[in-house]
């Protein structure tokens, strides 16, 4: 139990700070190199003007959203590090530490996946190939918007659940 507490403390303190710095790094890199964004999704409507603008815009938005989630996670972990120190290791509140540990593991997993995405190592899932809102004169492929939206929604689930584990862990430990 003591080892688990030490490990959780170390994870909260260091992972929080490291995530925050990494997210800031990616954010500045994105601001100064707008052409270096990986293409998470691409529009294929056949209209070059629409496709070009939509692809760049959507990928930029996704990039900043991912950086924002990493920053939020780092923030969450770093500012709860003092609460974790206060958790007792005796048998009166045995689940509190376990809940906080599971929460931090889920959040770190999400962060690692997001970092791999930002570095273009992992490809995001394509929920469906094409939803083509076609007109005779202006064909528009809106599948890129729906794919990005669904991807962001599904990414937010592990983050939310990690946050809930931490919240309930602290509640069980009577710290909130």
């Amino acid at each position: 139990m003591f080892v688990l507490k030490k490990l959780t403390e170390i994870l909260y303190k260091n992972a929080g700070l490291i995530c925050f710095v990494i997210a800031l790094g990616f954010l500045f890199f994105g601001i100064f190199n707008p052409n270096a964004f990986p293409n998470f999704y691409e529009a294929h409507s056949g209209n070059p003007l629409f496709d070009g603008k939509m692809t760049v815009l959507l990928n930029e938005i996704l990039w900043f959203l991912f950086c924002f989630i990493i920053m939020l996670s780092g923030d969450l972990l770093y500012f709860h590090r003092k609460d974790i120190k206060k958790l007792s290791t005796d048998k009166s509140q045995p689940d509190a530490l376990h809940f906080c540990f599971i929460g931090v593991i889920i959040i770190i997993g999400t962060i690692v996946y997001l970092i791999l995405l930002l570095m273009d190592i992992v490809n995001p899932i394509q929920f469906f190939p094409n939803v083509l809102f076609a007109g005779e004169e202006t064909p528009m492929d809106l599948s890129i918007i729906f794919n990005a939206l669904l991807f962001f929604l599904f990414i937010s689930i592990p983050y939310r659940i990690g946050e809930k584990f931490i919240k309930y862990g602290l509640k069980i430990g009577d710290l909130k």
Partner: protein, 93 residues
């Protein structure tokens, strides 16, 4: 089963539900499970895949809601005073 064990049991059921939600979300994100509730029609304006994805997301949100209610109940149950002990204490007094 004593009260402490019961409350722990309820709390871990809530945690299990949350864990299931995470696992399902990860499987969808990695492409192992593809939400296909409404099969695609293949038309140009086919919003069936989008509806399937959004419905899956909403189902996961409902699971999160239910599991948080279970966790809340577990916490509340733990803090409630024991009903058996109270009459005994009154009788003693």
């Amino acid at each position: 089963m004593d009260k402490e064990r019961k409350s722990r049991f309820i709390l871990w059921i809530g945690a299990g539900l949350l864990g299931t939600t995470v696992v399902f979300a990860i499987l969808v994100l990695t492409g192992v499970i593809v939400p296909n509730i409404f099969p695609p029609t293949g038309n140009l304006l086919d919003v069936n895949p989008l509806s399937s994805g959004l419905l899956t997301f909403l189902m996961l949100i409902i699971l999160i809601y239910v599991s948080t209610r279970v966790l809340d109940f577990g916490l509340k149950y733990r803090k409630e005073p024991d009903q058996k002990e109270e009459p005994e204490m009154k009788a003693k007094n």
